[in-house]
């Protein structure tokens, strides 16, 4: 599903190149649950953003479902993105002016999904996350865990093939974090959605099938998790 070859990313500052990613080469297959770990500043978010097409690598090759992302034009890339990728952030990044239902609806609007289908999918999501009663509330009226559930619902509603999550539980208490992780595991196992998450927690990483250890922009380790949890 994802093929990275020799990905490099650096920022040039007064002629000095500061590297964030170096020689990153890896592949992620459909249905995998990958955790990216590493100390702060290692380049985890950058790697995730590149995977999610939010940033471009300075060098290297990136193939997503057989398409060469680097050479795609803007319109095609947005198309690819809308159809296959869902993002979840540590800071939730919900739109403050929109209600829960509207936040979930937004990606469908950009994808031009017809009204009746939109309504049924939103109802589905609200149902699934037990949020029917909260559908008309605004993000600041929800707890952090609830906000993150909305964030995940928003990522899922467009029926992506992959979910990219940047420290999704970083702002949450462990009970809520556990709930989110269970959810990811279920999505991965029952619906076959590929999941790539950045995390600091060994516990969270253990939910996945594979861990990439990143240090100073280089993949130091690529281990398969034995399913013991």
């Amino acid at each position: 599903m994802i093929e990275l070859k020799n990905i490099e990313k650096y920022y040039a500052n007064k002629g000095v190149k500061s590297y964030i990613l170096r020689h990153v080469t890896t592949s992620i297959k459909q249905g995998e649950f990958v955790s990216i770990m590493g100390p702060s500043g290692a380049g985890k978010s950058t790697l995730l953003n590149i995977l999610g097409m939010l940033e471009e690598p300075t060098y290297g090759q990136y193939e997503f479902m057989g398409e060469d992302v680097v050479s795609l034009n803007e319109r095609k890339r947005i198309e690819l993105y809308r159809n296959h990728i869902g993002f979840v952030f540590q800071a939730y990044h919900l739109i403050d002016e929109m209600t829960v239902a509207e936040n979930i609806e937004a990606p469908l609007l950009y994808k031009k999904v017809p009204g009746s289908e939109r309504r049924s999918r939103i109802a589905d999501m609200l149902d699934r996350f037990n949020m029917v009663a909260k559908s008309d509330l605004f993000p600041n009226q929800l707890s952090g865990g609830q906000q993150q559930l909305v964030g995940i619902a928003r990522a899922l509603v467009a029926q992506p093939s992959i979910i990219l999550a940047d420290e999704p539980t970083g702002n949450l208490q462990s009970a809520q974090a556990l709930q989110i992780m269970e959810l990811f595991k279920k999505l991965n196992e029952e619906e076959g959605i590929t999941i790539v998450q950045v995390t600091h927690s060994e516990v969270n990483a253990a939910y996945g099938s594979r861990i990439l250890h990143l240090l100073d922009g280089v993949i130091k380790e690529d281990v398969t998790v034995s399913q013991t949890v």
Binding site: F89, H93, E97, Y110
Partner: protein, 790 residues
């Protein structure tokens, strides 16, 4: 999508109440002021353009040459002989009509008489102006010499109805005229207004001057309508030749000038139009655009100030699949909605303030709802304002990379936007300070002219027109009024004390430097008690006196007349005018009778029993004013029953001379005030936003021990700096503009340094107040509140 967008737009407008309020109210006031000024500009612009064929109608102008053959005056008067000749000889002429300048004449239904504006004209005028006839036939309405066309309101005043066809009215107590038509009232912005219109053929019956076909009396107006395909230059060339061939003695060439341009381009130099009131129109247009710009700047500044928050929104939307176009549409739609709300409020504002405005400017305007240009204009204002205001977030922010905008990296890139914001605020306050300085200078100039002595005591002095019986029975009136005790002294004269025109050059005196006098003198014909009534200062000699029979050929001259004539011992000298000799018996000090802004022509006041037209009276100061006026009114009415009594106070006549500048003063006051209000509103918005942004920083600083004063300084210093820069920029510009304006007046005030300092200090004080209110509130707030949220 659109519906949801609109819902969210309205929701976020509601959520950001302060900034929305500032945007909407500021823009609404700006739009209202701008539209109000533009309606006024349109009113002036449409002068004499209402009738269908107005573009073809021209007025005959006359150039007056001096002895060197140079044109020194151009005016819109023409002779009686001109029209018949032109009509016969120039095929391009379609219609032609001679008219008089219009007068206030008595018109009566039985004993019910009113003084209303009359006009005489030839019947072609009905073809040039498409008057709307309520009754009567335009083809025949002016055929019979003893006919009259009334306007709707004249008919209503006289008869209480417009159903008055074929009824009879009495003109000037003498002539019975049959009503042959009633037309809709004429628009205010027309040069040839009247309350009733009579045929030229009737004018020829009652006025010698109109009947006499000559080339010397320029007391008439001639309107000429050319065929649409006519070439004006060619026609003017033909007229020139024709007039020169038929009028050997006099060399004043005539030419046609478009009537629709007279009002705005009516200032002539050497026979060429060099502008006129159009300059004022440009000024007002600039003011209108300036005010709107100030409001738009607020709008834009609020948008850029909020860009950080908007950037995050852009980032989120992009990560859930929005493309750039949809974001641009969203931001533009948002600012259009705000603009639209502002326009609606603006229309409400205009509707409620237009009566006040009309009152101030003494005009009659309304929102021309049925004018498609207005709607087109409004629509383009909405689109343009919305576009300008929304363009920054729409085009700039939407271009950001989503991860950059989410990481709040915009600040670095925002350097440009921040300095742009500074420039805009400086520009705003520059404009405001210029307006404030102008207002103060205009005020000072009006004060200066007001305080300049007019040369006599204007208080307790009144005048009235010498109409009807008052001409023949003046002596009776004088005896009765003096006996009544209401009046202490009075006189009659050919013109009012304050008058315009009545100039002539045909004056001769002993020891003239040239055989022919070229200097314009002003003349006033009067009899006894001139000086003793008006109180003008006698420098030497005496007033006319019944004791001296020889006073029937005596004259008093002004000090400037003595100077022009170069007389060493003026009293006793003999001067000659209209082929008669007059002996100078007195010299009086110059007084203001025409424009208070420049020195008036030298004046001669000569003894003349038939010089009638105005009666001037000094009221008895020991009586109650109201009582005096009542006494005068009842005695005058008794002697001259057909005419209304129109007593005017000299002090208000002199106050009226300042009307135009007062209007300018009011307008600059009003719009200067609005400008500073809108600018401060914008400033308040910016500082509130900046305070909101820095709540956390302030909280931390306070925890670390910062004082309220130092926090306030932190927040307001940069704003105050901008105002200071604006002041430094604005002062010289305003100084230059106002020096140029003052140059228009021969008598003018100076611009003292304190006006500049006052405006600067005033503006800074007001903006300081605006800024520090918010800064204080922010600095005083509890740091825990600020830090509680992550």
């Amino acid at each position: 999508m659109f519906k949801l967008n609109l819902k969210i737009i309205l929701r976020s407008i509601w959520k950001n109440k302060i900034s929305s309020f500032i945007n909407v109210i500021g823009l609404a006031i700006g739009l209202a002021a701008c539209l109000m000024l533009l309606i006024y500009v349109m009113y002036e612009w449409n002068f004499d353009k209402q009738s269908k064929d107005s573009a073809n109608v021209h007025v005959v102008m006359t150039n007056v040459l001096d002895d060197k053959g140079k044109i020194f005056v151009t005016f819109n008067g023409s002779t009686t002989a001109f029209a018949p000749l032109i009509k016969r000889e120039i095929p391009e002429v379609q219609y032609i009509s001679r008219m008089d300048y219009g007068n206030m004449g008595l018109i009566a239904n039985g004993i019910n008489g009113f003084k209303k504006k009359s006009k005489f004209a030839e019947s072609d005028i009905l073809k040039m102006y498409d008057y709307h006839f309520i009754s009567g036939d335009p083809k025949t309405a002016l055929t019979d010499p003893r006919s009259v066309i009334l306007t709707e309101s004249t008919a209503k005043t006289l008869f209480g109805t417009t159903d008055v066809l074929n009824k009879t009215v009495k003109y000037q107590e003498k002539e019975n005229l049959k009503i042959t038509g009633v037309i809709q009232d004429l628009p205010e912005n027309s040069s040839n207004r009247f309350d009733y219109l009579m045929p030229w053929s009737f004018y020829e019956i009652i006025d010698e001057g109109a009947k006499d076909l000559n080339w010397s009396n320029y007391s008439f107006i001639t309107l000429v309508s050319l065929r649409p395909d006519a070439n004006l230059d060619l026609v003017n060339k033909k007229i020139d030749e024709l007039v020169k061939r038929n009028n050997k003695q006099i060399s004043q060439p005539n030419f046609l000038f478009p009537l629709s341009k007279m009002h705005l381009y009516g200032k002539f130099e050497e026979g060429k139009s060099v502008g006129g009131d159009i300059e004022q129109i440009w000024l007002f247009t600039a003011l209108a655009i300036g005010i709107l710009l100030i409001a738009c700047i607020n709008f834009m500044n609020m948008a850029t100030a909020k860009s950080e928050k908007r950037a995050k929104e852009v980032g989120i939307k992009k990560t859930i699949g929005a493309n750039r176009r949809s974001l641009i549409v969203q931001f533009l739609a948002e600012s259009m909605v705000l603009t639209l709300i502002s326009v609606i409020i603006a229309i409400v504002l205009i509707e409620s303030f237009i009566p006040v405005f009309n009152n101030l400017l003494n005009i009659e305007m309304s929102i021309p709802y049925f004018n498609s240009y207005i709607w087109l204009g409004l629509l383009s204002v909405v689109l343009l304002t919305g576009l300008i205001a929304g363009s920054y977030p729409a085009f700039y922010l939407s271009s950001f990379n989503p991860t950059q905008s989410l990481k709040r990296n915009v600040e670095g890139k925002g350097f440009f936007s921040f300095s742009l914001r500074k420039v805009l605020v400086i520009g705003q306050f520059c404009f405001t300070i210029i307006l404030i300085i102008s207002t103060l200078v205009i005020y000072k100039q009006i004060q200066f002219i007001k305080n300049k002595p007019v040369g006599f005591d204007v208080n307790a002095l009144v005048e009235m027109p010498q109409d009807g019986q008052l001409i023949e029975k003046f002596e009776l009136l004088k005896t009765r009024l003096l006996k009544s005790g209401a009046v202490t002294t009075m006189y009659q004269s050919s013109v009012n004390l304050s008058h315009h025109g009545s100039n002539f050059t045909g004056l001769e005196w002993q020891g003239m430097p040239q055989p022919e006098n070229k200097v314009m003198f002003n003349r006033v014909g009067t009899t006894y008690d001139y000086i003793s009534t008006n109180g003008i200062k006698l420098i030497s000699g005496r007033d006319f006196n019944k004791k001296y029979a020889s006073d029937s050929s005596a004259v008093m001259v002004s000090a400037s007349a003595v100077k022009v004539m170069g007389l060493k011992k003026p009293v006793g000298e003999i001067i000659k005018m209209f082929d008669a000799n007059f002996t100078i018996i007195g010299v009086f000090d110059d007084y203001i009778w025409d424009s208070p802004y420049q020195s008036n022509s030298p004046m001669v006041v000569y003894f003349n029993k038939v010089g009638t037209g105005a009666i001037t009276m000094r009221l008895n100061a020991s009586n109650n004013l109201q009582q005096n006026i009542e006494t005068i009114t009842s005695i005058t009415k008794e002697i001259n029953p057909s005419y209304p009594v129109e007593i005017k106070f000299m002090n208000s006549i002199y106050a009226e001379k300042l009307t135009k500048e007062k209007t300018l003063g009011i307008l600059s006051n009003l719009f200067g005030g609005l400008a500073i209000f809108i600018s401060c509103l914008g400033l308040f918005g910016l500082i509130s936003y900046s305070a909101e942004q820095r709540t956390k920083e302030f909280g931390i600083r306070k925890v670390l021990g910062a004082s309220v004063a130092s926090l306030m300084q932190l927040l307001s210093l940069s704003f105050i700096k901008m105002i200071l820069i604006a002041t430094v920029l604005a002062a010289p510009i305003a100084y230059y503009i106002m020096i140029k304006w003052l140059d228009n007046f021969e008598f003018h005030t100076t611009i003292p340094w304190w006006i500049i300092v006052l405006s600067a200090v005033g503006t800074i004080a007001i903006s300081l107040l605006t800024v520090s209110y918010k800064a204080y509130r922010t600095a005083k707030s509890n740091p825990i509140n600020a830090l509680k949220y992550e």
